[in-house]
Amino acid sequence: MKDAFGTPQSLLVLGGTSEIALATVRRLLTRRTRTVWLAGRPSPRLDEAAEQLRARAAEQGAEARVHTVPFDALAPDDHEEVLGKVFAEGDIDLVLLAFGVLGDQQRDEADPRAAERLARTNYAGAVSSSLVCARALRTQGHGSLVVLSSVAAERPRRANFLYGSSKAGLDAFAHGLGDALHGTGVHVLVVRPGFVATRMTEGMEPAPFATTPEAVAEAVAHGVRRRARTVWVPGVLRPVMSVLRHLPHAVFRRLPG
């Protein structure tokens, strides 16, 4: 159960190797944490992430158990079973949906199958796994579902509209899901970070208002505590994107990047 300050005792991360997700878990890890589930494709990196969290928990004197669980966004047939097992082990106070791929816009435009795969991961896989989690949270009558969207969801741009459109779909889905769950005790938080310096964006030119996984983690923690619907990271992106959203199309198309 979460306490009065929204501190979770149990966490489930979908996309257990995501740097933003791991920064968020580190931020939320307290002496009250009992269980952390890292769901992802089995890999040395996933095991390593779990190991690091165990060490971190021990440092804080938490008795948290950190588990990994095999999960593939592209295998929706398994979502019910895999995630059902996690929820059967006990209540989950916070689910963080963090998986997603950035793709390569240039390449994917020329390779429809790759583009479709990106859409299936970022949108369809997220829809399927969130619905499974949402139902389990609904049954337990409490919990937060945190969905990592992106500023790219706000208005598609020439430079990354494949990624942007998948996040736009996810963003709309997650907000709708939040409304559907209103009054049930389950809270859905949609996080819209700007450019985050991670493995995923390595080698790219940082966009204006670039941020870090730690800043996203802080914003998630704050948003969960306030039971917010949407948070922007950094917060200034909210007014910035509000302006960009209303720019005439002819101007918007010519923006650099």
């Binding site: 139902r135 009558g141 049930t184 306030r226």
Partner: protein, 485 residues
């Protein structure tokens, strides 16, 4: 939103059979309530809302049927709820059932000779006062609000300003009827292990159906009150230690925002029920009249930042300086002495949407140094706490999880939105646990589960009794889940 396969009633008949429904839960949409009404509930502090089906039995038979239904459903149990005045998550049960006991609202018998009342668990102390005061009887123990039910008073084993003389609520209970997980109704008296587990057991042993309560004879609905202002904590503690025993009721309000030498300055009010001769002339014609004033309720949607250090500090200064340096024998109406906040409905809204937490501890008389450190810490951090209350407890009560034990109890409200508040309160908890003090479960919304067995040595016994009485968790709550009770 629905994931079920729907067939238009006017559409052509389908030749292919519809897929077999897999599980009922998969047929329902996400926001579709299951049986019963799903409601979002919080405690009085308005933090950590969770959803539960709420049943409101009106009779003992309906209550038994409701508990039977919970037992048959199997998952996630149920918890009794009264008027929702517990500050934290004690009367919430996420994903399960909440048994709203306020429908059990009959006063069954009043025996003036024996000075007892038998009433159902959902009767509020307010209702009891309305009925009993004209008969010259008063409830034996009242907390800072009249809007608690008798069942809740047993479940939290509440205390009042008279604990040093009269003990907790359950000490005045002659007997009670408890509906347990197996669907049986048991009549319990003090000394019975299940009675002592139920007193202070936070509803986890079952649903209290009715209570027979011993009453206090009074001649008027007025109090005679002595008020004095004390410039610092040390003076306050010694004043209370030397003369509390001369009063039936005693409580001190502390200014936790005063700093330096004034840290812990206080207004001490003590009194007893007034004899008719002490009443003001206009009140003598109807000495037992009980008509508490009602102000308009606090509005909805107040912002969260109203109570900050500056505003609360100003309020506290004003309150301290407006109190008389020393005044004795002042007649006060009962409601303004006991329940000053009850005049304003929904006063918890003044903390805004972020809500607030109340922190209440008790530390032994011999550990007043721990109390001083706690007050120092709060004062140094400038916590915007108004209405911090200090009281001296008398002997411990028999309830296994009853909060009171001999010593000092300090209670304060803090806005839940304060940055870093969780970690700060954790340090206060450590101070309390280090001297075998404890926190009040009816107030708690955030303590660390590890400290619970330290603070409540009878916890193991309580757990063992529950495991035997209710092996399948027919009674459980968010509080029980959070703290692993």
């Amino acid at each position: 939103m629905s994931v079920s396969h729907q067939q238009s009633p006017r559409g052509p008949a389908r030749t292919a059979p519809l897929p077999e429904p897999q599980r009922p839960s998969e047929q329902a949409g996400l926001s579709e309530p299951e049986r019963g009404r799903t409601r979002l509930l919080t405690g009085w502090g308005r933090t950590a809302p969770t959803g539960a089906r709420v049943h409101r039995p009106r009779t003992v038979e309906e209550a038994v049927a409701a508990v039977d239904a919970v037992r048959e459903r199997g998952a996630r149990g149920s918890i009794p709820r009264g008027l929702g005045r517990a500050y934290g998550d004690a009367a919430q049960n996420a994903g399960g059932t909440v048994l709203d006991a306020t429908g059990l609202d009959r006063i069954r018998a009043i025996d003036l000779e024996a000075s007892t009342v038998t009433c159902e668990a959902g009767v509020s102390l307010h209702r009891l006062m309305e009925v009993l005061l004209p008969l010259g009887r008063f409830v034996p123990v009242t907390p800072g609000t009249r809007y608690v039910t008798v069942g809740g008073a047993v479940g939290a084993d509440i205390h009042g300003k008279n604990h040093h003389v009269s003990g907790s609520f359950s000490r005045h209970v002659v007997s009670l009827e408890l509906l347990t997980a197996d669907g049986r109704v048991r009549t319990l008296a003090p000394g019975d292990p299940l009675f002592d587990a139920t007193a202070g057991g936070m509803g986890l042993t079952g649903l209290v159906l009715s209570v027979t309560l011993r009453l206090l004879p009074v001649e008027t609905s007025w109090m005679t009150v002595d008020t004095e202002r004390l410039p610092d904590l040390d003076t306050l503690l010694s004043r209370m230690t030397e003369s509390d025993h001369r009063y039936r009721y005693s409580v001190a309000w502390i200014d936790l925002l005063a700093r330096g030498p004034a840290a812990g300055r206080a207004v001490l009010t003590r009194g007893d029920h007034a004899p008719p001769a002490a009443l003001p002339r206009h009140a003598r014609r109807a000495p037992l009249a009980f008509r508490p004033p009602r102000l308009p309720p606090a509005p909805r949607g107040l912002p969260s930042g109203l109570l900050r250090t500056s505003t609360v500090g100003a309020f506290n200064r004003l309150w301290y300086h407006k109190a008389p340096r020393s005044r004795t024998g002042e007649p006060q109406r009962l409601a303004s002495f006991f329940h000053p906040l009850d005049g304003v409905g929904h006063w918890n809204r003044i903390y805004g949407s972020a809500g607030f937490v109340q922190w209440q501890c008790v530390v032994g008389h011999e550990h007043d140094d721990a109390l001083r450190r706690i007050v120092q810490r709060i004062s140094r951090r400038s916590c915007p706490s108004f209405l911090a209350v200090l009281k001296r407890f008398g002997a411990a009560d028999p309830g296994w999880l009853s909060f009171p034990r001999p010593g000092w109890t300090l209670a304060l409200d803090l806005p839940a939105g304060l940055p870093g508040l969780g970690a700060f309160l954790d340090t206060l908890d450590e101070e309390v646990a280090a001297v075998q003090g404890r926190l009040y479960l009816a107030k708690d919304a955030r303590m660390r589960p590890e400290l619970l067995p330290v603070m409540y040595p009878e916890l193991e016994r309580f757990r063992a009794l529950r495991a035997e009485l209710d092996p399948h968790g027919v009674f459980t709550s968010d509080l029980a889940r959070r703290l692993g009770i």
